[in-house]
Symmetry: C2
């Protein structure tokens, strides 16, 4: 059954969770949120999502890898291991990023092989019989939250995967009369260049248990991950080999020689063949991970007892609960897109610490989390925008506190004493710019989320914002901007630092730490130092105070004046003070004209194919990457909400589809998806830390948001259809709403946001200054 | 002051510890044991000892390295880092083996540099100014137990080293008016081939503290060692660099760029420059190690508080106590040789676990020792012979129990479930043959040493002796010998396994575990299966039961029929049943003739220069390597004790000198030295587990052995001098002793062994069958 026909079959299913949705009597009830999610979305095109099994925020992402033998360029396309277009599956590995723009993970690849011939190399996709990989058909695939299945046609093996928080479980049904084997390849990973594996070990503990560790030099320079693997049926034989060549010094040989069944093997290129003979029952392989050590992996294995079906049922229940926080009534495609987006927002920051509380920190040392599960996979440059704010609405305060406590623990453990930038499994990658753990913490604090030490948090934020060697903060503090002759991507850094600074000031202000507030409110205005009023663009400035020339606002290059973008995208990033920015641009009209110019830019002559993250273009608006994400909402700040509505329609229609290639860019650990969840509901957190959500237009007929405080926030869009994409009147709890934003307090209080949709734009609603969302420079008057 | 003149100056010193020695009134009192030790002995020639600072059984061996840039061949000569003949010192590193036949360690090399020019590469010995190394003069050296000093003439820096159990302390006196720097080179080690460093890190914790770790692929395939380093004066600046080239994938850069003062650096080739400016006082650098992690190293640093002088004084006191267990009255050179030997026997098995009890085991995982300090550096093929038996006499039972508990912990942690073979820092190297942890444990148990679980120990011993994949034990158990067509060095393995088996049987017998005893007494006879009565040699046999041909009893080659030796050395190794061996050889006369033939062999036409460990030849007797160590004592077993006495005179006179080149072979972690300590006292443990010491001839005039039970065992040699090398009469506690051995019980009971020496051999003493030492086949009649 294809994943599509599988979904179709579920259209007739029912779910208690959506029983309150006002489906008309003549329609079949919509499938449950769980059954609506399609994990195949984003596995083609540029989405970089994975179709495999994962629990909410689970440490294990057990998913098929179609090819780990990529070259540098094609590695980007295989960032999540699986590419929908690939004709073969190489195996199933236990760790994957959901939509990262970088390749790594793919740890501990397992491939079931039936019959007598077991090849220990993967072979190539062009010639599958050259290795252990197998052909497969999409028709045989089933993908659900926490469950994936496929038939490996070369071996006639049905492969099923499920996952708990710290375990993944494989179930392989081998053909009768054929010997069952597994290949466990510790040599492969995503982006698998020579020298990546620094060391690896494999150890037979008993005839049902194998443990091991692997240390890789990947995106994180030195990452250790261990596993404990238990089989439902005993091993009949095994071969552990180190295929490494040209070892300068080998030392002496341990017990066993050549192909003997040695109990332990170490080296840099380890592959194992595991033999089970002919099996009467399917083989289950339960695998736990640990970034700490083998004992941690064994402890994690023990912490989630039960077989495949038990883990699958438990994870299904978790997903049903997690996805049930939003009830959505909308056309089928919109529902599929939205629930899949919601699913994608619930994968990171994932659990990275062991069941016993131990975890590996940014110093690569082992620490113990005090009363919380340590989390990592912080794609903060992406997720501070909408993903993290979404979690404050759809996950318990305790989960949000846990995320913050994990950030703070990482800061304590950091050799630099600063908060994570782009961290996974506790290891820092230094990817992207800014110190965006800061707005995540500030936003949560300002929303009243407790459970962490606010003073300690503010200290950690200030430490991160004042650590001179990071991203040339030294010059930023001295000059008021990052000078491009000292530091690449200086323009982007300056505006992002200034926003982060504003969130520190906001939090300090609320805490009564006035000196900190004053210092960082001042820094929040530093964006002005890199804004060029003459061209109306944010531009990179040199140490001598001059803007760098030549200046081409359309150029996109790595290490240029901007980060994964150009002046067109970055000139809008002053979320703390859009009013001041627009004033600097020449006022409302000039700003609207410039916004329009961005969306309507004729890009037919531009070639950005050299820049990996640049996809999903609408003129110079680039939905496939984050700097553009808030831009459509900015019309609200210049009195043109109807234009926001128009642009959102344009974006949603063109950038999200319920198909494998349905995401226009990397999902970026939920940010692309969080954008859609918010936008679908009709509002978006343009300025985390402002306690406001800026109103766009809803894409759902009706939605109920079950808030963590037990209340419900309801969105209704009367008369919504393709022909009625514009907001007419808006009421909040029955009272007309004359402003283009709602507050976090209003949502958390429960209530109803009622839109009446219409065919034509309402060019009068929420246009005056008082109706506009928060800007620092105008906040006093509001 | 040269180490020689230093020692000379100490001849006038007094020590309470020797105040009881019967020095004649007209002689100056002999210097104390502490002051008699000369750590320079063995640093030239083939001794492979190190001259630096170490506490008894200390984790840290802080010592100068004269060159770590060796080629494969010269690495052997630099196994302990320092070669007396080398003209320069490259730096001071924290770990060294004492007399190993293999090169590794040399961790965390520090070199003080004065002035403005600081080179970060070591340069070559031929051209010292090409790098950070310095010339030095032996005249400037001082070497004492726990203390070493030298003047680095290129920098005019006086360097002093001392060490505690888990810390080393450097003290550098820089010249006035010059800037003080340290180079900390994490790239160097002993035998430093490309690719050896798998990973390393360095971290600035505060301006007086640096931590880091290094993972190497050396003699132990994956060894992790961390350090914590504290400076007595603050850093004024620092540079952490990774000089690695051709990195396939670099990832993103952390805070700081290029030569900025970054707080953390990781990679495979790290070197640091540490700047202190001009100093008014000497700089002290206190360094703790840990095989666990940086927290372990910091904990170890804190566990031994105090400055250079404090640590030096504490360690001096430890050495005075440890060396004071034997009071020796003998000619100066003999005293120097014997106390230096005693010193060398007190270095391993060294502490490898942290102060908090954590340690890294053979599985490379972190464990916690329950109530004992985990020890490692088990050179068991060497040390089971005399080093470990010596420790049962000169160290408390608790130390011996700790060694055994460490062996048992290692067995529990081993992926193979077997006892250590050649292990250091908890990591197994699989060097040499046999399972000689077994006789170490059995010998201690049979001597009544408690403090460990005997049943658990016996189980571990049986597990090690029956693990089929190790050293072809599978075939050994099936065939009664190791077949040479399946396993190299089969002849040596068979005889050594058989001896180890006998010790299992002895221990099991005492414990009443009769089935184990019977099984292993049987195996103790397996040496017969590899003995060729026709040639009178132990020979390698094939699976088909035929001895391998051609057979050359003088051939020495790696991976041949024998281990670091030939038929001449190995044909004597049946310590459990020398009587049966000699019977098989044709009886007493034939055996004496063969022993004489061995010593008197004309080796002038043999070239063993290709075999590293073959040195100290007397005919085919090779004192520089262990298989020969018991052979001189074997005349006692065939009724010719006077020939033992003659050979011992020959050996001691030719193989030990109080000079840097004074050891004829690798000290092998104390075995060469333990041989001399026993032999000097007049007896030797030919058969650990027999509870007997075979009498040779004394080389001391008078010695008092302070036993761990508080009693004293006294050795007197009346009339001993060069002209009177033979034993005349022997009494034990005043009663004539008519046998050529004493028992462990007799020693532990205290008392006096009184030799009267004479010029000519006594060919009648202890010649009859009843007077001979233990042999399994004749034991019933004794």
């Amino acid at each position: 059954m294809s994943h599509k026909s599988f979904l179709a079959s579920l259209l007739v299913a029912t779910s208690a969770l959506v029983s309150n949705s006002p489906a008309s009597a003549d329609q079949a009830p919509s499938p449950s949120p769980y059954d609506t999610v399609d994990p195949m979305i984003g596995t083609g095109g540029e989405g970089h999502t994975f179709p495999g099994a994962v629990a909410p925020f689970g440490m294990v992402q057990l998913s098929p890898d179609t090819d780990t033998t990529c070259t540098v360029r094609s590695c980007y396309g295989h960032a999540a291991g699986y590419r929908y277009d690939d004709p073969t599956i190489q195996g199933f590995s236990h760790t994957h990023f959901s939509g990262a723009g970088h390749s790594d993970l793919g740890d501990f690849l397992i491939m079931p092989v039936s019959g007598d011939k077991v090849l220990l190399d993967p072979g190539s996709g062009d010639d599958p019989s050259s290795g252990y990989r197998s052909r497969y058909s999409h028709a045989s695939e089933v993908a659900q939250p926490g469950y994936y299945a496929v038939t490996l046609s070369d071996y006639d093996v049905r492969a099923e995967l499920t996952a708990g928080t710290r375990v993944g479980v494989h179930r392989y049904t081998f053909p009768a009369g054929k010997a069952a084997h597994l290949v466990l390849d510790l040599r492969t990973s995503l982006y698998n260049y020579p020298g990546k594996v620094l060391w690896s070990t494999i150890r037979l503990r008993d005839d049902r248990t194998i443990t091991g560790c692997r240390q890789t030099r990947g995106w994180a320079p030195d990452r250790i991950l261990c596993f404990a693997m238990r089989f439902s049926q005993p091993l009949a034989g095994h071969l552990f080999e180190n295929t490494e060549e040209n070892i300068t010094y080998k030392g002496f040989q341990g017990p066993g020689r050549g192909s003997d069944a040695v109990a332990y093997r170490q080296g840099r290129q380890i592959v194992a063949r595991l033999d089970f003979g002919q099996l009467a029952k399917p083989l289950e392989v339960k695998v736990a991970l640990s970034s700490v050590d083998e004992a941690g992996a064994l402890g994690n294995l023990a912490s989630e007892p039960g077989d495949f079906d038990t883990i699958r049922a438990a994870t299904r229940a978790c997903w049903q609960k997690a996805l049930g926080v939003i009830e959505i009534d909308a056309p089928r495609d919109t529902r599929v897109n939205l629930y899949t987006a919601l699913y994608h927002t619930l994968l990171a920051p994932s659990v990275a610490g062991d069941a016993d509380g131990r975890y590996r920190g940014p110093d690569n040392q082992v620490h113990k989390a005090d009363g919380f599960a340590f989390r990592s996979t912080f794609s903060l440059w992406d997720t501070f925008r909408a993903e993290q704010p979404l979690l404050t609405l759809i996950q318990p305060a305790s989960v949000n506190a846990e995320i913050i406590n994990s950030l703070l623990a990482s800061q304590q453990d950091s050799p630099f004493g600063i908060l994570p930038v782009w961290q996974f499994q506790g290891r820092e990658t230094w990817t992207m710019i800014g110190y965006h753990a800061v707005p995540v913490i500030a936003d949560a604090y300002l929303k009243g989320i407790g459970g962490f030490d606010a003073n300690k948090a503010l200290d950690a934020m200030v430490a991160s914002a004042t650590y001179a060697p990071y991203g040339d903060l030294g010059d930023y503090m001295k000059l008021g901007y990052v000078p491009i002759d000292k530091e690449p991507e200086a323009a982007s850094k300056t505006v992002e630092y200034a926003f982060d600074d504003w969130t520190i000031a906001r939090m300090a202000q609320k805490m009564g730490r006035k000196d900190v507030a004053a210092r960082f409110f001042k820094r929040a205005g530093y964006w002005r130092n890199t804004f060029d009023p003459k061209t109306g663009f944010v531009r990179a400035k040199k140490s001598d105070g001059q803007f760098r020339t030549p200046f081409d606002p359309t150029a996109i290059n790595y290490g240029s004046d901007y980060t994964e973008g150009n002046a067109w995208q970055y000139s809008w990033f002053v979320p703390q003070d859009q009013a001041a920015l627009f004033k600097a641009m020449g006022g409302d009209k000039a700003a609207v004209a410039k916004l329009d110019a961005m969306f309507d830019y004729d890009n037919s002559k531009l070639d950005y194919s050299h820049a990996e993250d640049i996809s999903g273009l609408i003129g110079q608006y680039i939905h496939g990457n984050e700097p553009s994400h808030h831009v459509a909402y900015l019309y609200d700040y210049v009195g043109a909400p109807w234009k926001t509505q128009k642009r959102l329609t344009q974006i949603v229609d063109s950038q999200y589809k319920p198909t494998p290639d349905g995401l226009s860019g990397n999902d970026d650990l939920g940010q692309m998806s969080a954008w859609l969840v918010f936008t679908g509901l009709g509002f978006y957190p343009v300025t985390p830390g402002s306690l406001q959500y800026v109103i766009g237009r809803p894409f759902v007929d009706h939605a109920v948001l079950h808030l963590p405080n037990g209340k419900q926030f309801i969105v209704i869009a009367d008369g919504l259809d393709k022909a009625h994409p514009y907001v007419g009147s808006v009421t909040l709890d029955g009272r007309p709403l004359q402003r283009s934003y709602i507050t976090h307090g209003e949502i958390m209080a429960g209530g109803t946001l009622h839109f009446t949709m219409q065919a034509k734009p309402d060019k009068h609603w929420a246009t005056n200054a008082a109706s506009r969302p928060y800007s620092m420079s105008t906040a006093a008057s509001q």
